[in-house]
Amino acid sequence: MKDVHLISLSVNGNEHELVVESRRTLADMLRHDLGYTGTHLGCEHGICGACTILLDDQPVRACLVFGVQADGCEVRTVEGLADGDQLSDLQQAFSDRHGLQCGFCTPGFLMLAEAYLSEADSSADPESVREAMASNLCRCTGYQGIVEAVCDVARSRHPAGST
């Protein structure tokens, strides 16, 4: 007998109501039940961070959260960043700085960076950005472009003296 629950949540501002098994991960639920396949699974044990999403504004590994735990929550995924075809400043910075190659880890880094930037101020220096980005794994870029992109956006979102 499956142990199922009816839950509701919002993903990128879209309301969803669905029945999920209690053991189903939030990552699988987002990807396969709701079609948000931009959230990727690289390890399913919480190390690589490819599945990082924002759950009520906090960055979490969607592979370590059960779908039912997101009941009543607001989820933000990579699909919510762009405005149609118009990339967000952070996405554009990743492209400008060649902060992605295969793009598999990229959604996780973007969401991690969004969370970091929401707390960072203009003093965000490359060292602290590098430390924050060390939460996730990338196998293609060597991280340099990722760090530069996040630094760029930290500066443009928080001009010196604005905070």
């Binding site: 098994e21 053991r23 189903r24 699988d28 990807r31 396969h32 948000y36 396949t37 931009g38 959230t39 990727h40 699974l41 690289g42 390890c43 399913e44 044990h45 190390i47 690589c48 490819a50 995924t77 990579v78 699909e79 960043l81 762009a82 075809d85 990339l87 996405q91 990743f94 492209s95 060649h98 992605l100 190659q101 295969c102 793009g103 598999f104 880890c105 990229t106 959604p107 973007l110 590098r130 430390e131 980005m133 060390a134 939460s135 996730n136 794994l137 990338c138 196998r139 293609c140 870029t141 060597g142 991280y143 340099q144 472009g145 990722i146 760090v147």
Partner: protein, 754 residues
Amino acid sequence: MTTVVRKEDPRLLRGVGRFGDDQQRRGQLHARIVRSPLAHGELRSIDTSALDGGVQVVTAADLPGDLRIPVRLSVQGIDLNEYLQPVLAADVVRYVGEPVAVVLADDPYLAEDAAELVELDIAELPAAVDPGTGRTAAEFELGFGDTGEAFAGAAHVVELDFEVGRHSAVPMEPRALLVDVDPASGALDIFGMTKVPVFNRAVLASMLDVDENLIHVHASDAGGGFGVRGEFYPEDFLVPWLAFTLRRPVKWTEDRSEHLVAVNHSRQQRHRIAAAFDVDGSLLGMRDDVLHDNGAYCRTHGIIVPELTLAMLPGPYRVPAYRGRITVALTNKTPCGTYRAPGRFEGTVVREQVLDVAADRIGIDRVELRRRNLLTPGELPHTRAMSTLGTDVVLDPGDYPGLLESTMAEAKRLGYLSEVDTLRAKGRLAGLGVAMFLEKSGLGPQETADVSVSATGAVHVHSGGTSLGQGIETVLGQLASEALGVDPSVVTVIAGDTELQPFGAGSWASRSTVVGGGAVHVSALAVRERAVQIAARMLEAAEDDLVVRDGTIAVHGAPGQRVTLAEVARACQPASPFLLADEPAGLAARRRFEVEHMTYPYGAHVAVVELDEQTGEVRILRYLVGYEVGRAINRTLVAGQLMGGVAQGVGGALFEEFRYDEAGQPQAITFMDYLLPTAAEVPGVNVLISENAPSPGNPLGVKGAGEGGLTAVGAALASAVRDAAGITGSVERLPMTADRVHRLCDMRGETETT
């Protein structure tokens, strides 16, 4: 050159790429592989009685015959048939992770549950874990000149043992396949197969005993390749075969723990290398005896990693006499294949350590010793009496000493040398590492490309290369746009679809820009030529009077008299008055580009490290890659390849290793134990891209860029750690883990005993 926006970026940044696990089909079954939990044993029975009725199980007994995965790259005429991996183990299991059964269920969670209920009765046998105790699958020698004479007449002989640990590519996306099937014909649509899709389609067709046109491998995004992804593995038969047999879509997604025991491992070798020098430090000869651990079977790569190790070992140096001998041992561990810079990562660290030790022994500066022994521009092209990958080793023109000079000058300009001095003055254990390397790229024999223009003026490129994250769509789009005189934004590149490009040879061996790019270049030029021919008819002008620019073809000196490429494409449609009676419709061309020899990029790596004597930590403070690429089609992407290569090299040099216990149980099956470097461990990397030695073997002058960022990282970091620790011998082993470095620090100042 202006920066070109990567064609791949918008979809990947928006999370709307299409990776292997991103699609679903109505009625799909989910496959889960049951794998051997033991390293070696007799498989007596498989008990599936605990499974409920909704689940199907397949074992070796259900397969159509004794199917084995064939070798893709056969070398040195050595027959490996006896060592090929079966699709499913039938009587004997030979490594932890070997597939023994497949379970199918409607839901992936249920499939995983069911797989755990399959009971395997295995009588355990002794496991060969150390390659010294393994069975020999192959043994061969490569070389030239008289090494006996060289060593007999030497003023200095340096000999050392060096070991490289087992590690591998570990791309961020685990493998995944979705196979859809037409219930009537059995036609298969495959998503998630990459790297060499045309080859894989042929293998699959042969194993299924169907015509290859029944199989369509679609282009898809892939979360990193690095040599391991896209080779033909047991699952690449099992999943399509199940879909074909059951006439239902079948999906399979690997988890990370499976990946770490199932996908090709690489690198594990033990070298005994010796180098002979005259009194001035000029190399007289080299010899290397290598023991290569190939794991339990020979897979698609056969023994090309051992072959490349020997063939590339002399590197960019003048070596009058060389003999490399390798023994390929089979052990009860995951089978091995290529990983980015195969054979060169290993051979480069071994050779460069010998040079470092020799420089100290002879009393010459490390850089000066290299300078004396590098082949000079006047000595190139240089033929070595060896072959690798079925092609003779002919080093094409270049300036190895020039690149070493410019790289060292850049290191100095960036303050690397003074930083080491400053740290040492403060009593810190700082060191400088220098390594020189030779790469190979652009393996032939051919690549084919189709270029066409549709009625809207959109340009389509169908290439046989595949998109693995390297930016191939961008580069091929640039080449097509340059040749056709159109903006890159109107070019769409589809790479690796077997229906759109049935003659593609795939993306590997740093061949895509060189050979795939060459094919796009000649195809696009053919389209341009045809467009000019049709435009001449439309404009009633002579072809020689036409100028192709910005998507238009105009009469020279009469800019008003012009047609757009879209108009020309429409004039090529059936019933057009501009087509002659016997001409085929369409503005398109398919051309093949062939190369006889590979082209050999080269470079130098320089590193500054600091060691923590207490913890054994290696901090990489600075890192520079100097690299000769012939011509950079896209400098940003070349730099990206080099930087990413360095990051992977840092992993192999310091952290990553697949360790096994004495029973053959893998000790690294999660990212808790297999340590990939993060942004905290990978330094910022400086790159010096040189375009001084265009390759004469292709019309673009390019050399490959895929591997040189990684090739010498082990060597440069070993050199730097050795320098920092102040030891007289070699560092003896990669990875230089903290405990190992801690011991090296203890050896500091000890006099050499051997």
